[in-house]
Subunit: 344 residues, 4 copies
């Protein structure tokens, strides 16, 4: 058996665990070969590849990032379909394991529909890929956010301040809501539950009335607001970058300014940004990544292509690769309800 | 609604998250009262109790341990049944939330069968309580072990040594196997998979043959060994303490001595002990504890007594309290198979 | 002996260690009393005070923030001198321990010159208070930054990106330079060593030429730039807040835009902000805080007022409180030279 | 300039920072060459060596252990002097940087007296090497111990227990005393301050009398006891290993048994062992290691051989290599006095 593996899309803790597990499973259990393609689809298109043996994966388990590099190259838009087919033939691949998020896996689904032997492995720190209960990377990102919220608590309390923490999550509030629940936030604003600035301020005021002179507000970068009593929505910046894509970020600062103006309480913003994508993966993510890497090789070994490994409850199953379609997966409402118990 | 809450058995990160959530849910959602009984069943028997309001739970979410204290008092053996019934009446309890492991919950099941309005919340760093997929505390303990294994890796490699890490797990290998998988152990010995010292040594030798001059061996304190080719089993110490109970611990040292003697490679032992029970809970455990605390109150509110909250897949359900019976819950074999991919 | 203690200025890990040590020393060694004034000078002016006994300080050592709260109230500007003198008399204080940074200690020096029995304890995460080699809080902040830089490294490397990390340090580069050295930054820009964007870009290019397609640039919030070859300096934002004070922050984003424009390499910014002020103090800071708290009480006991405790080398001494004057203490040039060895 | 570098003795966080800094300084500042000898003196004797260029040191800064491996080989006892001289000639070394503790540096001093161009770099997690105020590795080990003590606190408090923590330190109490001070221990027993079990128990009882039903006792592995009132000293085990060397460890368990027997309070032991030697180095240790690596190369560049780099206060100086002689460096008494303020 001769397999390839690649990692695409944004950085995500646990990718090295996947690669390590896939290599070990292929070489040890199936006595096969594994090729590592570099920088996402680019490696397959440009033939940047290396042989992955047991030495290659030594020591990578605790490391963030991906030893193969990544990119956001779209294999279809770049006219790459032919190049990719050639890559499969040139390297005599019996199968390709594709680790990626929404975008990478949607492309993979299309390639699989063209007959290419592909197995998908879902990856996202946002936890919003459809078809799996959890993706590796999310638990590590969540831990990073919660550690930050813990640190901010003491400062907020010492200074009698409101601190607004902006976390990742363009379309879904998994990180915001779970970090709110695990970090003890007093308000959470997520894309799935649009709110008003009035409501946010009221929750903070309820705390002031109880003698709690500080508050922690967690806001997803993709948080959405409804008009408040005065018909006004906060002016969320939605800049475009030089490629015309929406650049997120900035909503935290906007919310902080609104709170400070309305309540007259000193309010600060912290935008966690890329530190949420890095760091040594948690035990949970290393286990999930390892199990998914093993399961993906097992699927390839029985030629179950066009499928994606998936965590369902506490076991690893597989689903059609096309299951990733349908847009981001919203947060489980029970979690939001749980976080809301502690609001205000 | 007038509820009580207590924590029994060994210390476990996440107990404060449960208490906090139960108090917030009771006071905020149901406008009820919550009494905290101190030191397990003792508090109910001896009437050591305090009123838990929102101020009482401020700041406890990130802390290990339990603000209520704990004990291993058996409510039945101490002739406490009458005292406990009196406690229920005296405090006019509409329900009691009992957080505990195997032992505490078995007693709770018996009390519930006597008609006492009890809801159980499973708690164990060993993850071996029946009736739930995961218990809070386990993820934190696992993280502590994995951090230690990470630290030991560099020392083992720098010195060309074998390091044997003894972790908790008297009856089940959840911690050992998951830490082996997440920490990259080269051998794991767990109670569910008895092995021989020969097999352990062979795995280490296989690594030596590949030029890997160091190995990490993770051993559960309750690890069991079969006789090897020479008919010999390692002399595992099973001391009794002054109350006649089996004292675990020491198996790691025995395994290390055997390895050193047979292979002539310098071998060291690290016994992690009680640091596995402490520390700030992980985000996962804080969320799980919070969700279980909320769900337990919700059960009490609809008078679903004699039940225990339970994580099934990624949602919170409930099961009969008697579901905890039947002895410790063995580790999911898929996890052992996954860990085994990396052995040797 | 009847002492008071207060904490002023920005939040700083280790303040609770100081308070705990001062209380223990006063009560146990001298059998005296300790009063805790809340929210900086405000507590003394407004008579917000509590008795600090051994129970009050139980469990506070590992916590960030300050159990007494803090504020930036200026005791002199608020016409508070008389109020403060009254406070000393009303509470029959034999001495007051003042923990603070530059601003708080300068005020303390003036009060001491008016005859008030004050001992100063230097505190700053920026490490730029004069009169001491190190202040507690700095090591914790540095550790937070270095952990973030570690996490960003793997992302930068996986994506072939430049990441600009903006850290605290308005006037001095202690955090930036030390984090650069300890985190392995490829460029550091600090207030003490003005540079040009040309120079920054050249260092990144030197790495590209060596096949290192990623770089980490650490920039102090108060970084200053000289005009480059084209006579241009980057447009550093220096906003004023509603009280007319300079608001720092934003230089990282400016530098990132410049790098991206000139080199065409994808560049991202991370602004660490307030997480640098929080978190559980490191062992180093707990020790330094504890030793300073003890030494401050010892000074008060022998009526050495108008002085400030000070770490000189590895021992605790004291200096005149007026030693804090003279503006922020620039970073030791040897440290910058050490960090520079790894640039480019 | 053609230099070599080696690391000898026990594992110690920060060694990779030293190697990285020495390589960068040699190649970048002096345009020289650096050879890395593997496994301590063995590499020089057996000619196991590799060329260290800038790629070789990429990514090693945050890693524990030493990329060169280490051993406890004695260069003199093994008749290695001639082999070592040959190694110097064969590799045309202008100088050799030797990172090691007491033993390695004493040997280095002897070799230097024979005319070999050697520069020493002190390394010990115990902080007991003479000639420097601090060695890298100590701060990381201390942080590991303090994190463990923090975790144990919540368990001790929840269970009303005494927990005895045995830490490294055969001859000196640096780790025990500093961890006691930074971790908030209630008793510390160190080699420099022999005590009696009576005194230990009295401190615990004093706490019981104050209603503090738990205590943390930190004991150095080399702790010494005086006879108590009954003329009895606790039976500290001093086993010999198969090479006839004293094996430390076990004193914690002995102390715990004594406390439990005398006071009747449940007492547990935790022996931290090798996790104290591993893990990613703290910012402090990375800085100190980097600065020492740079300074050692600078000494070699001006042919100041037979010297050792040294931290004095907050600056790097150098001392005669023979300064390491005279036995382990006892802990600064001020630190013990500071820790003692919190006893009982």
């Amino acid at each position: 058996m001769r397999l390839g593996i690649m990692t695409g899309g944004g950085d995500c803790p646990g990718l090295n665990a996947v690669i390590r597990a896939a290599v070990a499973r292929t070489l040890r259990t199936y006595e096969g070969h594994m090729l590592g393609f570099e920088n996402g689809w680019l490696g397959l298109i440009n033939n940047r590849v290396r042989d992955l043996d047991l030495n290659a994966i030594s020591g990578i388990l605790p490391r963030g990032g991906t030893m193969l590099g990544t990119s956001r190259t779209d294999p279809l838009r770049e006219g790459g379909l032919d190049a990719i087919k050639e890559g499969f033939e040139f390297h005599r691949l019996d199968g390709l394991l594709v680790c990626g998020g929404d975008g990478t896996l949607s492309a993979a689904a299309q390639l699989a529909e063209q007959g290419l032997p592909i197995v998908g492995i879902p990856k996202t720190i946002d936890n919003d890929v459809r078809g799996t209960d959890y993706s590796f990377g999310f638990d590590t990102a969540l831990s990073t956010v919660v550690r930050a919220v813990d640190a901010l608590h003491s400062t907020a309390e010492s200074h009698d301040r409101v601190i607004v923490v902006e976390v990742m999550g363009r379309h879904c509030g998994w990180l915001a809501i779970c970090a709110g629940l695990a970090g003890g936030a007093d308000v959470v604003v997520a894309p799935e539950q649009p709110t008003t600035i009035d409501d946010v301020c009221e929750l903070i005021q309820r705390r002031l009335a109880r003698g709690r002179d500080f508050s922690i507000v967690v806001v997803a970068e993709g948080a959405r607001f409804k008009p408040d009593a005065s018909g006004r929505t906060p002016p969320i910046p939605r800049r475009l970058d030089h490629k015309g894509r929406v650049r997120y970020g900035g909503v935290g600062e906007v919310v902080a300014v609104e709170i400070e103006q309305r309540l007259g309480i000193e309010t600060r913003t912290v935008t966690l940004g890329y530190i949420q994508r890095g760091g040594t993966p948690t035990a949970f993510d290393r286990m999930l990544g390892s199990r998914m890497g093993i399961a993906a090789v097992d699927l390839a070994a029985v030629q179950q292509f066009g499928r994606m490994v998936s965590l369902q409850g506490s076991t690893i199953h597989s689903v059609e690769l096309s299951a990733v379609r349908g847009g981001p997966r919203p947060v489980n409402p029970e979690l939001y309800e749980a976080a809301r118990v502690f609001f205000g």
